[in-house]
């Protein structure tokens, strides 16, 4: 059977919850729900629709405020709205694409509780995930896909070991890279944030007074659900934004009033979390991006040496083991993974004192992910201070020396990697920062 269109899917009572969450941010919750309901008439009755949403959210245990603007909600709430929408449209078969990747462990528990209730009501649920933990917790049966082919077809989840599943997923055994060094001794911090505050960008919460220090030769992991101040933190450390209040000190020098160029000269190198938004310039080649990158440390204004930069980036890529495409290719036309490798090559080629890295392995294949992680550890061993922002708690636990947790724009705790685990981090991520 083939399903020709989203409409046809709905007639079959199929509901899909996408990873990128198909909601209109400028709309309220009830407007988003109404958009997908066919039963409401031509004229909208806001009060009645809000009641429908309220009733449903009680019935399924999905707490949301029907009158709230979606852009003001947290990512977990977005997902609940998306689920409500699909359920109210009458779906009996739900397909969820990576539903847990953006949630805290506690939110995942909540989601799974809802899914179990739905299963008991007789709904069929398909979860697409790359996390072993999800499979173990919720799945009755498993199918593994790799490179577009079915490698394991419809087995009982309980009949497979973790190792078998991993083997099936990656197709080769991967030795995970783990930070095994002891934490560095106390020294003067490479970078220091003193009571830094900043209003939120877009859907982010902003920062409400943050104190952080990172020592040379240390990896500070930053955990938290997306939108709790990570983007603002990275932008502040990179000098892309100036704090409303507080002070940033790099290598003992206050950076108040400095722009990205001054931060870079002070040794701060930034791997942005969303390269397409913040790094890729349409129309420019890889080599031209390298020249632009290099111009930051040059003394002469508006001088760009594309030829030399292209040669240099090719050599750097060879050295770091990150394969990149030919420098003449246009960056904007490349895949996310290829773009990320170019960005990482540039970042690791620099003699940085502080490396700010957001979601470095997003969109990378298994092998490049491990290369990137070893490069991060190598940078640490070479005495650089690394700030690693990630939503992947496993990655943070594998690489960091210390982990700082952000919630609602505040730091709810800084913990030693050795003395913490996922649960503890999850509690800090959902801690009430008020």
């Amino acid at each position: 059977m083939t399903v020709g269109s989203p409409l046809a899917a709905r007639d079959l009572e199929l509901g899909m919850v996408f990873q990128d969450l198909r909601l209109v941010p400028a709309f309220t919750v009830w407007e988003n729900v109404a958009l997908h309901l066919r039963e409401t008439g031509r004229i909208l009755r806001p009060r009645q629709l809000q009641q429908v949403v309220r009733d449903a959210s009680e019935r399924y245990g999905l707490a949301v405020d029907p009158g709230a603007r979606v852009s003001d909600l947290s990512i977990g709430e977005w997902q609940r709205v998306e689920l409500l929408k699909v359920l109210l449209a009458g779906a009996r078969v739900l397909i969820l694409d990576e539903p847990t990747s953006v949630l805290t462990p506690q939110e995942v528990d909540g989601l799974f509780a809802v899914l179990r209730r739905l299963r008991e009501d007789g709904a069929g649920i398909v979860i697409i995930t790359h996390k072993m933990r999800d499979v173990r917790e919720i799945a009755d049966r498993v199918t593994v896909l790799r490179a577009g082919r079915v490698v394991v077809g419809d087995r009982l989840a309980s009949s497979m070991t973790d190792d078998e599943l991993v083997q099936a997923m990656v197709g080769e055994s991967v030795v995970p890279v783990i930070n095994q060094q002891p934490s560095p001794p106390e020294t003067t911090p490479a970078i220091e944030l003193r009571d830094v505050a900043l209003a939120g960008i877009g859907e982010g919460s902003g920062l409400r007074g943050l104190d952080l220090t990172v020592a040379p030769g240390e990896i500070l992991g930053v955990a938290g659900v997306a939108g709790n101040g990570q983007r603002e933190l990275a932008d502040l450390i990179a000098g892309a934004l100036a704090p409303d209040r507080g002070e940033i000190v790099v290598g003992g020098k206050s950076m108040t009033g400095s722009g990205p160029k001054a931060f870079r000269r002070a040794g701060v190198v930034n791997v942005v979390g969303d390269p397409v938004r913040d790094f890729v310039v349409p129309g420019l080649s890889v080599g031209e991006h390298a020249a632009l990158w290099g111009s930051m440390t040059s003394r002469r204004r508006l001088r760009f040496d594309v030829g030399a930069a292209a040669t240099a980036i090719t050599a750097d890529a060879d050295r770091s083991g990150l394969d990149i495409v030919a420098p003449t290719r246009r960056l904007a036309l490349l895949s996310g993974g290829n773009i990320q490798r170019v960005l990482l090559t540039l970042a690791f080629s620099e003699d940085a004192t502080v490396l700010v890295v957001s979601y470095p392995t997003r969109g990378l294949d298994v092998r490049t992910t491990e290369t990137t992680r070893s490069l991060l550890l190598a940078a640490r061993d070479a005495g650089r201070a690394v700030v690693l922002i990630s939503e992947d708690l496993d990655e943070l636990l594998a690489l960091s020396d210390r982990i700082a947790v952000l919630a609602h724009g505040r730091c709810t705790g800084v913990v030693e990697r050795r003395s913490t685990d996922r649960r503890a981090l999850g509690h800090l991520m959902t801690a009430d920062a008020a």
Binding site: Q19, D20, D97, E98, S101, H130, A147, G148, A238, A240, G259, P260, K261, R264, N270, V272, R277, D278, F279, V280, V281, P282, G283, L284, E288, A291, L292, W293, S295, M296, R301, L302, R303, F304, D323, I324, V325, A326, R329, A332, L333, L334, S335, G336, G337, N338, R341, R362, G363, D365, V366, R367
Partner: protein, 362 residues
């Protein structure tokens, strides 16, 4: 717009990306589509004039005659192309930085106003070249000011520059009308709304014994200069970065707002120079409609030339050739001269219609 999934499959080994094998091969299907689109526009225009009872073949004959075959028509094309080309470059330079300058018309007008003021009231007694330079500098400064205001409003107060530059055109036109109806009115003009003519020494001389004047040479040099500025300097590269991705430009330490404003200043200065050259080269005095929508035609030419300075100049020449056909059509077929605007617009509809094919070609 679909977001790329966060966890993509392992990618093919980099470097193995295949080069487009058919770079040298001509895609005949595409050529046919492009030619067909432009041909379709010509047919549409034929239909429009036929609607008014004129013979399409006769109209096209008349257009070709006035543009290419008539006495001195080639030099006339070049003379008229000067303000169009400069107004078009005034669009292209800010476009590199991601700004939409629809204010070429107003910038031409204030350039002409400044040049006229300098020519009539200041530089009369000075030797020619000094007067020319003074007028050119004045025109460029006025144009830069006229474009700079919307630029600052955009970078400082995020007022959309496409809309403000457009509105500034009407202000410029009213300003000129005010001047030529009252304070600057030509006392010897028999009551006509026009400014006093430039003193003879300020008028740009003809070259090579033709009707082409010095303005064409200046425009050509400036166009080459703009080409060099955009393609060969760090400034041009930085503009492309800002136009491509402002956030990336900021993170790379480029002074984004300064670059955006300077691109508009350069653009405005180019159009202001165009207004000055048009005045000192052919108009001699300010008259209502003296810029004859060259500013808007320039916008279309810039779009047709896809903001590549040399292609833009070529497009300006083509548009100039079409624009001068109006008098012939008015005389021989009783068509309103503005009918050529229809043809100009249709010639830009073709690439707009082709936008989709172009994106697929990448």
């Amino acid at each position: 717009m679909s977001t790329t999934a966060q966890h993509t499959l392992p990618e093919r080994a980099p470097g193995s990306g295949r080069r487009n094998a058919g770079l040298a091969r001509v895609d005949w299907r595409r050529v046919a589509i492009v030619l067909g689109a432009y041909f379709g526009c010509l047919i549409l225009f034929g239909a429009v004039v036929a609607l008014k009872g004129a013979s399409p073949t006769g109209v096209y004959n008349s257009l070709i005659h006035s543009a290419l075959l008539g006495d001195g028509s080639l030099s006339e094309v070049i003379v008229r192309a000067v303000p169009i080309a400069l107004a078009a470059l005034a669009v292209s330079v800010p476009a590199k930085a991601g700004l939409v300058n629809v204010g070429g018309e107003g910038q031409l007008i204030v350039g002409a106003i400044a040049a006229s003021g300098i020519g009539v009231f200041i530089s009369g007694g000075l030797p020619g070249p000094v007067g020319w330079v003074l007028m050119a500098v004045g025109g460029m400064a006025a144009g830069a000011l006229w474009a700079g205001i919307p630029a600052v409003l955009r970078t400082g107060l995020s007022a959309n520059e496409a809309v403000t530059t457009l509105l500034m055109n009407f202000v410029a036109n009213d300003l000129m009308l005010y001047l030529i109806y009252q304070p600057w009115k030509d006392p010897t003009g028999g009551g006509q709304p026009q400014s006093s003519p430039l003193p003879g020494g300020d008028v740009l001389p003809s070259i090579l014994g033709s009707t082409i004047n010095l303005a064409a040479v200046v425009a050509l040099v400036v166009a080459i200069g703009v080409w060099g500025l955009l393609k060969r300097t760090g400034f041009g590269f930085a503009l492309r970065v800002v136009g491509g991705n402002q956030k990336a430009a900021h993170r790379a330490g480029l002074p984004v707002n300064r670059l955006m404003v300077s691109s508009m200043l350069v653009g405005g200065a180019l159009a202001g120079l165009g207004g000055m050259l048009n005045l000192a080269g052919s108009q001699i005095q300010l008259v209502p409609g003296g810029t004859a929508t060259y500013g808007y035609i320039g916008f279309l030419a810039a779009f047709l030339g896809r903001h590549d300075p040399l292609k833009v100049v070529l497009a300006a020449l083509v548009f100039s050739a079409i624009a001068i056909g109006n008098s012939g059509l008015e005389l021989n077929y009783g068509l309103d001269g503005s009918v050529v605007d229809v043809l100009l617009a249709l010639l830009v509809v073709a690439p707009l219609w082709l936008s989709r094919n172009r994106k697929e070609a990448f």
